[in-house]
């Protein structure tokens, strides 16, 4: 049983390493938050599963309480961080060049007089 618990805990540690690598892999802040916010609670859940296999009933109770607290709170925190970044980032598309080009092409083709 202890071998199975150890293997499960190593799997959880590898998922945590994946979450930390996702912070370096992606280019935009949203993708980085997505990688961290999805993988890290899964890493803790897998580790808690392995530890509770090895610890018995009293340890399992505390680990379940900790896992429920994390599952309830961590997505909310990551969502609030997404919202803060979205509201404080200036828009990247300042001028729509396509509208200007299409309008100029219509004026050149004589379909638009250009005064509206």
């Amino acid at each position: 049983m202890n071998t199975i618990a150890g293997i499960i805990m190593i799997l959880g540690a590898l998922v945590a390493l994946l979450a930390a690598a996702g912070l370096h892999k992606f280019a935009s802040p949203y993708a980085r938050f997505h990688a961290a916010g999805k993988a890290s609670p899964v890493a803790f859940l897998i580790t808690a599963l392995g530890a509770s296999l090895s610890l018995g009933l009293a340890g399992t109770g505390l680990l379940v309480v900790a896992s429920v607290a994390m599952i309830l709170t961590l997505p909310v925190g990551v969502h609030l961080m997404f919202r803060a970044v979205h509201r404080t980032t200036p828009p990247t598309l300042a001028v729509d060049d396509l509208v200007r080009a299409e309008r100029a092409a219509r004026i050149a083709a004589g379909q638009d007089r250009g005064d509206t």
Partner: protein, 95 residues
């Protein structure tokens, strides 16, 4: 077995700490700190399984709630910056 898991957790915490030091913005640093904290929590759970004592497991509950409070307060702090100036889109052709 548990030693290998703790070593991998420490490695994950170091990789996340590099992002914490490099991170281009405040939000990246906060999320990197979150990942570091969760790696630490996993290491605490693994250590409890290694020693067989449930003494430090209460710490996990406290850490989960403290981490949530830190993230929420930092997100609120980020939103209280000056509002972004609105850029009017000029779609008319320049004459």
């Amino acid at each position: 077995m548990t030693t290998v898991a703790i070593v991998i957790f420490v490695l994950a915490a170091i990789v996340a700490t590099i992002r914490l030091l490099l991170g281009p913005g405040l939000a990246d640093r906060i999320i990197a700190l979150d990942v570091t904290l969760i790696s630490f929590m996993g290491a605490v759970a693994t250590h409890a399984a290694h020693t067989g004592s449930t003494t430090y497991l209460t710490l996990l509950v406290v850490l989960a709630i403290i981490g949530f409070t830190a993230t929420v307060s930092a997100a609120r702090f980020l939103q209280h910056e000056d509002p972004v100036p609105t850029i009017t889109i000029d779609s008319e052709p320049t004459s």
